[in-house]
């Protein structure tokens, strides 16, 4: 079992008093990632896949080794399926603009959940509009979970893609993605999983349900910003028309034509984010030593504790299913705007996020225009959550005293 001592791995907490509960936005970095990146910057700053002296080859090997580490981390059958991107957003846009833009016909349908992050909504909105296709929504049921029965009706033979988050960045619950994948595949539709909030929090084994596409970001799981992962089935990756072409992704070029490299390199034009990839590798190695089952247990425990304590407060509305899967908890204090709650907490040294959380359609479905989100990662402590709960209570009392 992970305990509070795990914090000692993170220098941020030695240097700062902040109670950091905005981990769904991005995470702090453990010393081991910082050290390995410092070493890579110091001793291994070479370009990959081009320079053919031994030192550069070692960097290329390290880079390619991370591809395997990522592949194993999510239970992908082959490292060929792993494309390094900038981020979740980047990965989804590559699939939308490099693949579905060439596949989609008028009248086709793409299905998303009402709770999608804008990253997994806007590319599909724009694409369906451009192609005269339709965008359909999976709604929430009365427990604030994706409604599988309704999904069964929305997904049909016109559906070409179901694009859903495994874990909503607002509601924090694990969605029934295995069931959705089954339904999608029954209709010969593909399924894309936005795993930005999933891969950081629990063990992931995609061979269990065989999604066609899966995307996530390194920075939400202890790695640096600017590095993300796109998983795609190899035969589908083959069909992507690279959204960027240029150096590194070709085998030969003449005056008029070029011959592209095999996947996945073909999809990584130009000098990639080498240091980002190596940093991601360091983060995954660290998470592997902790064991993702333990990470999940700890996140779930902290999330459940937070949910229970906050919902016990008078005048606090907590969203989503009462059984928690992750450390994310979203709430509102009745009569007080989410931004005022967040500022009041900020003034007490607690960092949470307030607003739409890049999920405006969900806010409309929840009949609110903003919420407060506190998101714990495994390095947070129960004591920090208790301080949050106390501060929320005090905040409510402060604003209520003015007749709010």
């Amino acid at each position: 079992m992970l305990d509070d001592k795990i914090r000692n791995d993170f220098p941020f907490f030695k240097n700062n008093q902040l109670i950091y509960l905005d981990n769904a936005a991005t995470t702090q970095k453990p010393q081991i990632v910082i050290d390995r990146m410092a070493d890579d910057y110091t001793n291994h700053s070479f370009n990959v896949h081009r320079s053919n002296y031994m030192a550069a080859q070692r960097t290329t090997d390290a880079y390619e080794k991370v591809r395997t580490t990522v592949s194993d981390f999510i239970g992908s059958p082959s490292a060929k399926s792993i494309v390094f991107t900038k981020s979740t957003t980047d990965g989804i846009n590559i699939v939308a603009n490099g693949y579905f833009a060439h596949q989609l016909q008028p009248g086709d349908e793409i299905v998303v959940a009402i709770s999608e992050h804008h990253s997994n909504l806007l590319p599909w909105q724009r694409l369906t509009e451009k192609c005269d296709a339709h965008l359909r929504y999976i709604e929430l049921n009365e427990h604030g979970q994706l409604d599988v029965q309704q999904a069964q009706k929305v997904i049909n033979d016109h559906t070409k893609l179901v694009a859903v988050a495994a874990v909503s960045n607002v509601l924090g619950n694990l969605n029934p993605i295995e069931q959705l994948a089954k339904i999608a595949h029954q209709h010969n539709a593909e399924i894309l999983i936005d795993a930005a909030q999933w891969v950081p929090d629990m063990p992931v084994n995609i061979s269990a349900f065989n999604p066609d596409w899966l995307v996530f970001s390194g920075h939400k799981m202890l790695a640096p910003t600017g590095i993300g992962v796109l998983y795609g089935k190899p035969d589908l990756l083959e069909k992507i028309e690279p959204t960027a072409v240029g150096g590194d992704m070709v085998t030969s070029v003449d005056r008029n034509h070029f011959k592209a490299q095999p996947i996945p390199i073909r999809l990584e034009a130009g000098t990639p984010n080498v240091m980002g990839v190596l940093g991601l590798g360091a983060a995954l190695d660290y998470l592997n030593t902790l064991d993702m089952h333990m990470v999940q247990k700890r996140c779930q425990f902290l999330g459940q504790f937070m949910y229970d304590k906050l919902s016990a407060l008078d005048g606090v509305v907590v969203y989503g299913n009462p059984i928690r899967d992750t450390g994310i908890v979203t709430f509102n204090v009745e009569g007080v705007h989410a931004h005022d709650v967040a500022s009041a907490l900020d003034l007490r040294g607690i960092a949470v996020r307030a607003g739409y959380h890049c999920a405006e359609p969900l806010m409309q479905a929840l009949h609110t225009n903003a919420t407060v989100r506190a998101s714990a990662y495994f390095y947070n402590t129960q004591d920090e959550i208790s301080q949050l709960v106390k501060a929320v209570k005090a905040t409510k009392e402060f604003f209520t005293s003015y007749g709010h």
Binding site: H339, D340, S343, L347, Y356, N369, A370, F399, Y402
Partner: protein, 146 residues
Amino acid sequence: MDINEIYQRTIMDYAVRLKNKPLLNGQDTYQISLENPTCGDKLILSVQIKSGLVHVIAYQADGCVIFKAATAIMEKVCLKHSVTEINHLENQFSQMMMQQEIDNPKALGDAIALQAIVKLPVRIKCAMLPWKAMYQVLNEGEVDGR
């Protein structure tokens, strides 16, 4: 920093008392709708200009305390002033929020209380929104409310 340094009594009082007023229509009325995309403060502002003065101000304001207080104060400070005067006030208010010297703080009336928000930079946009809306509705003549 203590919460009372930001959420001062003046600010709280204005925010609590803010009442949305039915938007105007008819001759010489102008309307604009603005929001802060990151937080969801929303303002629909309509004004009527008569003989060069802002004669009536009405709005639908939905958002946080700082935004609501700023809206109510802006109304009070701007009412019955000319476009030129209001442009100057808007400029002074912006200067104040950017921690610059201003020539006549008194003219800003209770808007001076919002200077406290400078200490909480992430919220400056909330205080600026109504002023920005007023400036735009007067100068860019967005939508004629008729």
